[in-house]
Structure formats: structure tokens, C-alpha cells
């Protein structure tokens, strides 16, 4: 973007960036206590970059919140720390372990850690009194997300009411709230998976190394390749072996599957995605597989 544009045309990626920066500034101006939800995944890293650009040379004027499942990939936590330190933002870690210990969320033995994130997250938002929480959701990810607003209103129970969403026109966002309510903000709503990868490539920013091809001991469960770890031992009949893999999404390591891949650069990842036959979530996230309406249900409860 440093060259002069004789034709005054912005590429689609520059247009997306401009729109996202507009949203970040709008929220910082209109909400009393925003927070950026940071998972360490590629989408939330793009969010950090956009926030950095929106307020430069000032620091990002809100803290960063991470929900720690206790089963996070160490590579992801390392990347998170690098980003937080470089930008000098305050990091708040809301721990699922702690929420379980305090009885804020209850483990029935059947529910995944990903699902426990909902209660942990809502509790953190309530405790700190956040009025706006930025999330890295994209509308191309899943059918239920396709109808979500950029400003997505949550009631005092943190719930989303898909049938009663506020109309969202032009780039005029309505941030009105009642006491106890909050807004989820999705600045990268209009980005696709490929936009994210191209942006990471062109900005040259750090993402967790597990997105790139590496050797890992994995085993197969329900058609997914899962990481062998102390949290996730093999069951009888399962056998771990070293394979060349990479992750397409990051989350709870007991649930997040990887794919066999030799893609070790951004360009190779883009080529791989172009010919891929499975969508991001369906392929590798165990928690979305239960029903066609799984995402919609979790969103209503207050999932990211």
C-alpha cells in the first residue's frame, strides 16, 4: 500500500482491512470497556494486527482476554506471549480449570472443554464488566454465522437471539446496550479463510508454528488425527505413530485434529486450501460434528 494508486482502486484485501479498522475504531470510541478475545489462532492474530494498525502509534486501547482450556498447545501460548509483549497490551487469562474448581462451570464428564469455555468466558466478561468483546468469527465459516451481525447483541445471560437481531445498515453500527448486556463484535466478518492467509503472508506476522507442516505423534479417532498427549491418551485399539502433519485450526488439543500435509510456507498452505475438499471446521473440530445445528446451539448460549 505504499505505492501511489493512479487509478484510486483498493484491492479487495485492502478494502477488508479498511472496513475492519473502521469497526475497531468505532467500538473503541463508543464502548466503555471493550476487550479483544484472543485464542492464539490465525483469525485472532489477524485481529491483533488490525487493532495494532487501527490505533498506531498509540497502543491498543483495550485488554486481551484468553480462555485457557488447560489443554492449549504450548506453541500457541508462546505465540500469544510474543504478541502481547510486543504490543504492550494487558493479557487477562480466564481459566477453565479455575472455573471448574470454583464451580462456575460444572463438569458432567461428558462435556468437552470447548463447551466449558462458554461459561468461563461469560463469567470473565461479567466479572470484569466488559461491554464489548471482539471475536474473530467469520461469516464464511458456517451457515449459522452467515447471518450474524458485525455488532452482535447479547442479553444479560450472554445469549444470542438469531431471530431478533438488529438490522445493520451501511457502515452505521448501533452499539446501544442496557445494563448487564454486552456486544460481540466481529470485525473480520467479511473475510474468508483465504483472505486471512494472504493477509498473514503479506503482513509477515507471527502465527503458531503448528499451522505449518511438522512431525508429530498422532492417532486416529472418529476419522480425525489427534495429538498424543498426557491429556489425551490412546484408547484400546488406537495406536499413535509419527506423521507429517499441520493444523488448520487451533483449539483444545484433545479435540483439534490435524491433517497430513507438507505445506511449510504460507503459499503452500494457500495452494493446499485451494484444492482442499473439506471445510475448516467440519474436517478438524470434533465439537462441531454432533449435529448440523451444533454451531447455532452453541452460539445461542454465548459461544464465540
Amino acid at each position: 500500500m505504499t505505492q501511489t494508486h493512479v487509478d484510486y482502486q483498493l484491492s479487495q484485501l485492502d478494502q477488508l482491512e479498511a472496513e475492519s479498522i473502521h469497526i475497531f475504531r468505532e467500538v473503541a470510541a463508543e464502548f466503555e470497556k471493550p476487550v479483544l478475545m484472543f485464542s492464539g489462532g490465525k483469525d485472532s492474530i489477524v485481529m491483533m494486527r488490525l487493532a495494532e494498525k487501527a490505533f498506531y502509534p498509540a497502543k491498543i486501547p483495550f485488554p486481551v482476554l484468553q480462555v485457557d482450556t488447560g489443554y492449549d498447545f504450548p506453541e500457541v501460548l508462546a505465540t500469544r506471549d510474543n504478541w502481547v509483549n510486543r504490543l504492550g497490551v494487558r493479557l487477562i487469562v480466564a481459566s477453565v480449570e479455575e472455573a471448574l474448581a470454583k464451580g462456575i462451570v460444572v463438569d458432567d464428564g461428558k462435556t468437552s472443554r470447548n463447551r466449558h469455555q462458554i461459561g468461563t468466558l461469560l463469567n470473565a466478561i461479567e466479572e470484569e464488566g466488559f461491554t464489548a468483546a471482539f471475536g474473530g468469527g467469520r461469516r464464511d465459516e458456517e451457515k449459522a454465522r452467515a447471518k450474524e451481525r458485525v455488532y452482535s447483541h447479547r442479553d444479560e445471560f450472554g445469549q444470542w437471539d438469531p431471530k431478533n437481531q438488529r438490522p445493520e445498515l451501511w457502515s452505521l453500527y448501533n452499539g446501544r446496550l442496557h445494563a448487564g448486556e454486552h456486544m460481540r463484535i466481529f470485525p473480520i466478518s467479511n473475510w474468508t479463510e483465504l483472505d486471512i492467509w494472504h493477509y498473514i503472508g503479506r503482513e509477515g506476522i507471527e502465527i503458531p508454528s503448528i499451522y505449518f507442516s511438522h512431525q508429530r505423534r498422532v492417532f486416529e479417532r472418529d476419522g480425525m488425527l489427534l495429538t498424543e498427549s498426557e491429556f489425551n491418551p490412546c484408547k484400546p485399539g488406537e495406536e499413535a505413530a509419527e506423521r507429517t502433519v499441520r493444523f488448520r485450526t487451533v483449539g483444545d488439543l484433545t479435540l483439534t485434529g490435524c491433517v497430513e500435509s507438507t505445506a511449510s510456507t504460507i503459499d503452500e498452505i494457500i495452494d493446499e486450501i485451494a484444492v482442499a475438499r473439506l471445510t475448516e471446521r467440519g474436517a478438524t473440530r470434533g465439537d462441531d460434528r454432533f449435529s448440523e445445528a451444533a454451531m447455532e446451539d452453541r452460539k445461542k448460549e454465548g459461544y464465540f
Binding site: 483498493l10 484485501l13 490505533f55 502509534p57 498509540a58 438490522p167 452505521l172 448501533n174 467440519g282
Partner: protein
Amino acid sequence: MGADNALETAQNVGRNMDLLRFATAGSVDDGKSTLIGRLLLDSKSIFEDQLEAVEATSQSKGYDYTDLALLTDGLRSEREQGITIDVAYRYFATPTRKFIIADTPGHVQYTRNMVTGASTADLGLVLVDARQGLTEQSRRHAVILSLLRVPHLVLAVNKMDLVDFDEDTFKKIHAEFTSFATKLNIPDLEVIPISALQGDNVVNRSENMPWYQGPSLMHHLENVHVASDRDLVDARFPVQYVIRPKSDDFHDYRGYGGQLASGVLKPGDEVVVLPSGMTSTIAGIDLFDQEIDEAFPPMSVTIRLADDVDVSRGDMIARIKNAPTPSQDIDAMVCWMTTEPLRKGQKLAIKHTTRTGRALVKDIQYRLDVNSLHRDQETGELGLNEIGRVQLRTTVPLLCDPYAKNRTTGSFILIDEATGVTVGAGMINSGS
């Protein structure tokens, strides 16, 4: 589109690919979801697992063919009822262009969704069933797209396969619509005969309609010229956020963050800050850590001024000899979006660019019948999904232009102060 094409598209996403936002209107019966499903499928934006799920559902419901509409109907209640109840956004790309579809339902009660989808669209796509011809609904869609100043319109005459690809049927609809469109503001109109179900003229030219010489729908979407729709003359920069680092490295830095609505601004330009009327010179324009030579829409930049003038959120930077007049008496077309009607004397919150204030409804001049374009002056109120001409008095001056000239500085939303809900969308005719 083959695998090579998909690869080329994927690689071009980060290069000079441009963007077209379009809104679709039509009901399930017109085959809108089927058409969108086909655009997504043929541009390889749908993946195998999604297609398999839809094939399985279609089979279990006993359909003869794969119902592509199932790809797009997102919320469970919609799948159950078989209708689309809200605006949904879809994405696909071809090697030269990325597309964002605002997919809006066509039923009469969902005018507000169509207005929402059209508000950001460069192009509107209206579907009609070739067997039915123009309906009240298709006329209403065209009127709304015209009111929202969507610069390009495509009428897709669908289900041509069910009229034996008959040229006369198409010609009749074409002529009828063209005649109707003369009453509207539609700068660019294309009429295309298609079969969304069978793919005729969707991506490839149809062999079943040799009499049709025009482009396929996809070809038109890829090539329609949208760059010249932008206004590069009238500089309008609504100030969003004041950036003051207060750090050792940037001790005296004071920049104004915002997104350029129109026009081009350069360092050295003499500017006026509204509503105060103070003048200054642009000292520099920053895009992150780079100083740039010029800013143009829709760039989000940070502007620094040479003088220490008082500038805050809600102000606007414009050129001294080309600036909007601050106006508190606003004449506008309003689309009403809630069940409790809009009445004279009502007070609402108003958001215009980055400015928020309150508005008093001084008069409701008429209600526009979007089917007949008749102006009903007796009404005195606007109900849900109705559009009318309204006079407002605002507590703060709006730095506005007519909507016909500028879709950013000419638009506003109305908010119910008690519920916090967005209840109206406004398009300014004039301000004083």
C-alpha cells in the same frame, strides 16, 4: 470452473483482486437459493462435505434432484420452515473478483431485510420466475434497490427451462421491466434469461437459448464496472477517533482516525473542520507506520493537521470550498423497521456518520406505496416495512449530503432510545 481456475483464484485473493458486493432479492419460489447455491458450487466455494450433507438431506426428503437451496438456509428455524428469514452473507471468488452476496428474503414483510442488504450493495440482482413474469414483489424489489441507489441492477429471468427456453416469453418480461424501470433511478440494467437449476447462462452461455446474445450472469458479475461509481471529487472525512499516544516516542502526536467517505485528500491540502468551521492544512496522512501521498475511499487512515485546532469524534474534515452545510432540519426517505409505527412528534436517537444526536419527527409527508409508487399523503404514520418521506429536527447539526450524491454522508439510522433497537433507516433528500 476447474481445479486450475480454483488454484488461480486462491492465489489471486491477496493480489489485485477487486470486490463486488451484491444483494439478491426473490423468494424461494423464484429459485434464488438455488441460484446462489449454483454460483457457490460452480466457483468451487462449496466443499465436498457441504455438498454431501445437502445431497443426503435431499434424498431423505425424497427430492428428485439435489436441492441447492439447502446450502444457504442457515438457521434451524429456516430449514424447518423452508424459508429464509434474515439477511445472510455469502462469499465466493473468481480469478479477478471477490463477491460478497447479501442474500435477502423476498416476502413482503421483510422489506427491512432487503433495505439492509441493499444498503451496502454495488449491484442488485432481482429474480423472477419466467412462468409468472413480473410480480408485485419483483417491482417492489426494483423500487427498493432504486431508493437505496444501488447503481447496477440485474433482472434474472429464471426457470427458462420450464417455458421451453422461449424467446418471446423472455422478450415480453424484458420489455415490461424496462418500461417500469424508466420511472426509477437505475443507471445500469441488464436482463438475463437463466435456469438456475440446470445452469443455463449462470456461468456458461446456454446452448438452449441461441437467440440470447448477452453475457452469462457470472460473466456480467465479473465484468460490471464499479470503480467509476465512487465519488473522487467531494472530499468527506468523518472523524472517528482521536489518536494521542502520549508516549515518549510520539509525545506530540495527534491524529484523526477515520474512513474516507468520498474524494481524495493529500498532504498540503487546505481543509475545513465542521461544524466549527476552523481551517487548517493537512500536515500528513498515516496508514499504520507509513506516511502516504494521498487517501481515497474507502481507505481507513489517520490525518494530522498543521494547526492545533479543536477536532473530535463526530466532526468532519472537508475542503474549504466544497463542504456540506451543517443541517438540523432534515428531509429524508425513511424505511420503518419495527412493529410500533413511526408517528409525528416522536423522539428518537439518530446516528449519522460518526455523529450521534436526537431527532424529533416534525412531519410525515407521505407514505410511498412501493408497488405502485403512489404517494399516500393521508397516512400520518409509518408502519413496519413501510417507506415514507419524513421531516426531522435534530439536536446536533448533521454534516450531510443528499443520499443521491453520497451514500455514506447521506444515510442515517434511527434508534429507539428505550429499547436500543435500530428502528429506522434514512436516506437524506436535503438538509437546511
